[in-house]
């Protein structure tokens, strides 16, 4: 109850105080309102008095009401006068629900849904795990690689659930005091978190980042994968080594039993072909000229037309994830178009800091925030500011500018895995009861810090190669 009161009263107070009281120079009325919405978003996403996706919808609603050109008339009186600011186009705000980023994610959902429905994921796991034999260390590596691969295209949550379901019965056979149990139960969420980095649709923060990587900063699907996948592989190897170092398994042999065989009905084959085809098209955007958003519609269209995804399956789509991203996009659009983000950046003397400090600061803020709150919410809140910061800070230019800052912050969001609440995969692994918080924190913080360091390395490399 207290949370709700704070989360509502503080923004309301901010909304009601005279604009002049706010220490931002040249703040317009619209910017003032937007600031209140931003504060509300921060409070709601941090304190979570309501589900995070609901906060997103609330943001969209408030923007339509307070700063759109079709809001209530009395809120628009004075439009055109000095100090009022620019009203936003209502259709642009509503359009965030179907922005290309959302459609890209939707395409990913369709792929994942069909793969699950025709058990492509389980069967792939079965086939791909076989070469890793029965040595627990190798099995773990296999599990991590497959988990990471799946989570590039499927939701991290679903991937973790799938792999834990495969792993859980085997882990019960481990002795209670075998540290290997810990290593295995941790390797799945970590691999899922890391795997999410690999593609723009791997995890929502990436999608939010894609939104800001437009225009001159544009990054294609294949470009993202070109740095994302190698980076993910390196991080996976690192996490694998780290987990085994902390928790060497005593068991010398283990056998994962995954039952099933490939469905060979025509629909299943359509799923396989579409899955492979879509990924291929995403990778080869440069050849055919279709961008990833257009390609993302292929699985949607094909599966709907062939009834592979039917009416009932549509209900299973995680609208909450899509709307959570929508809220972020709407928030970013509001911040940018009202000019608030620029005003805010301007009010802080960033240029006084060395660019490196700025990068360190924002990435640490990002990883810390997303350790405690949703990764997506963190991205939603931080990335619009980063976009503005990158664009307005000339000193950053030589370091990669906005592009570097956005990618670094987005990746940082994904590396928060120190607590059960940090990411859904962590929560799920923790919920199995095979994991204690202490072990999770120890391993999670290690991976987070290593991740952060490697992100800087990646950025340096990307900068050196001229990508950013």
């Amino acid at each position: 109850m207290k949370k709700v009161v704070i989360a509502i009263l503080l923004p309301l107070a901010l909304l009601l105080i005279p604009t002049a009281w706010i220490p931002i120079e040249g703040l317009t009325l619209i910017e003032h309102r937007m600031l209140a919405i931003f504060l509300l978003a921060i409070l709601f996403w941090v304190l979570e008095p309501i589900p995070i996706f609901a906060t997103s919808v609330l943001v969209v609603g408030l923007e339509l009401l307070l700063i759109s050109n079709k809001g209530p008339v009395f809120l628009r009186t004075g439009f055109g006068t000095e100090g009022f600011g620019t009203l936003m186009d209502y259709s642009a705000i509503l359009g965030t629900f179907a922005s290309p980023i959302i459609m890209l994610f939707l395409g990913g959902f369709f792929l994942a849904m069909a793969a699950t429905k025709y058990r492509l994921d389980t069967n792939l796991a079965r086939v791909c795990l076989r070469p890793f034999g029965e040595n627990p260390r190798m099995v773990m590596l296999g599990l991590m690689l497959i988990t990471a691969f799946f989570s590039m295209f499927m939701s991290n949550t679903a991937t973790t659930a799938l792999m834990l379901a495969i792993l859980a019965p085997v882990l019960k056979l481990f002795k209670k005091d075998d540290p290997g149990r810990l290593a295995f139960i941790l390797c799945i969420p970590f691999a899922a978190n890391i795997g999410g980095i690999g593609t723009p649709i791997g995890t929502p923060p990436n999608a939010v980042a894609m939104k800001y990587l437009a225009g001159e900063n544009a990054v294609t699907f294949s470009q993202w994968m070109a740095f994302g996948i190698p980076f993910a592989v390196v991080m996976l190897a690192l996490a694998w080594w780290l987990l085994l170092k902390f928790n060497p398994p005593k068991e010398t042999r283990m056998q994962l039993v995954i039952k099933g065989k490939f469905d060979l009905s025509w629909r299943a084959i359509v799923v396989y072909v579409t899955f492979a085809g879509t990924i291929l098209l995403w990778l080869t955007g440069a050849l055919h000229g279709m961008n990833s958003y257009v390609v993302a519609m292929f699985p949607v269209v094909i599966f709907v037309v062939t009834s592979i995804v039917g009416k009932n399956d549509l209900k299973k789509i995680s609208w909450d994830v899509l709307w959570l991203i929508t809220g972020g996009i709407a928030l970013g659009m509001g911040l940018e178009q009202t000019g608030l983000s620029k005003s805010m950046i301007d009010s802080v003397p960033f240029s006084a800091f060395p660019p490196l400090v700025i990068v360190l600061m924002v990435t640490i803020v990002a990883i810390t925030m997303s350790t405690f709150i949703s990764n997506t919410a963190t991205a939603n809140l931080l990335l619009p500011i980063m976009a503005a910061l990158g664009a307005n800070l000339a000193a950053l230019e030589s370091w990669g500018g906005a592009k570097m800052l956005i990618i670094a912050v987005a990746l940082s969001c994904s590396f928060a895995m120190a607590l059960p609440v940090s990411t859904p995969p962590n929560a799920m692994a923790y919920a199995t009861g095979l994991l204690d918080t202490k072990s999770l924190i120890r391993a999670g913080i290690s991976v987070s810090i290593l991740g952060l360091i490697f992100i800087y390395g990646l950025m340096f490399l990307l900068n050196q190669t001229g990508f950013v």
Binding site: F109, T157, A158, A161, A165, I317, M428, A431, T432
Partner: protein
Amino acid sequence: MEDYIVLCIDDEREILDAVLQDIDSLSSHFILEAAESVAEARELVEEYSLAGKKLALVLCDHLMPEEKGVDYLVELNQNDETRNTRKVLLTGQAGLEQTVDAVNRGGLDYYIAKPWDSESLMQVVIDQLTTYILRNEENLMDYISVLDQERLLNAIHESG
């Protein structure tokens, strides 16, 4: 958590003590309750329902003074609020006729004969509660640590 009730009904206090002890590991996630008669059970379920707590599982003896277990199961099954409740008979004394009645009209889900052993009782309880949670609860994650992990994880996986 503690949104769902697991209720044991038996006229013999010693049996209630034993059953509650056997399923004590669920007390972190469920409200474990005991009633010494059907009348007490009915009152209890009503009270909890006012507080928004639902009856997830009932473990019920049949032969008790006054109202019989099977009759109560039938009553639960006819009530909208408790139709989904998993219904288990824990008894040594229901005849064929009553058992058939419990299955047909009471929506009986399981029959455990007295004397029982704690492991299989727990197994049945976990199994039934998992089914209940899968059908009635959106947030499956919270129950992974106490219920059937594999079934819950698979359900999460399938729902994306």
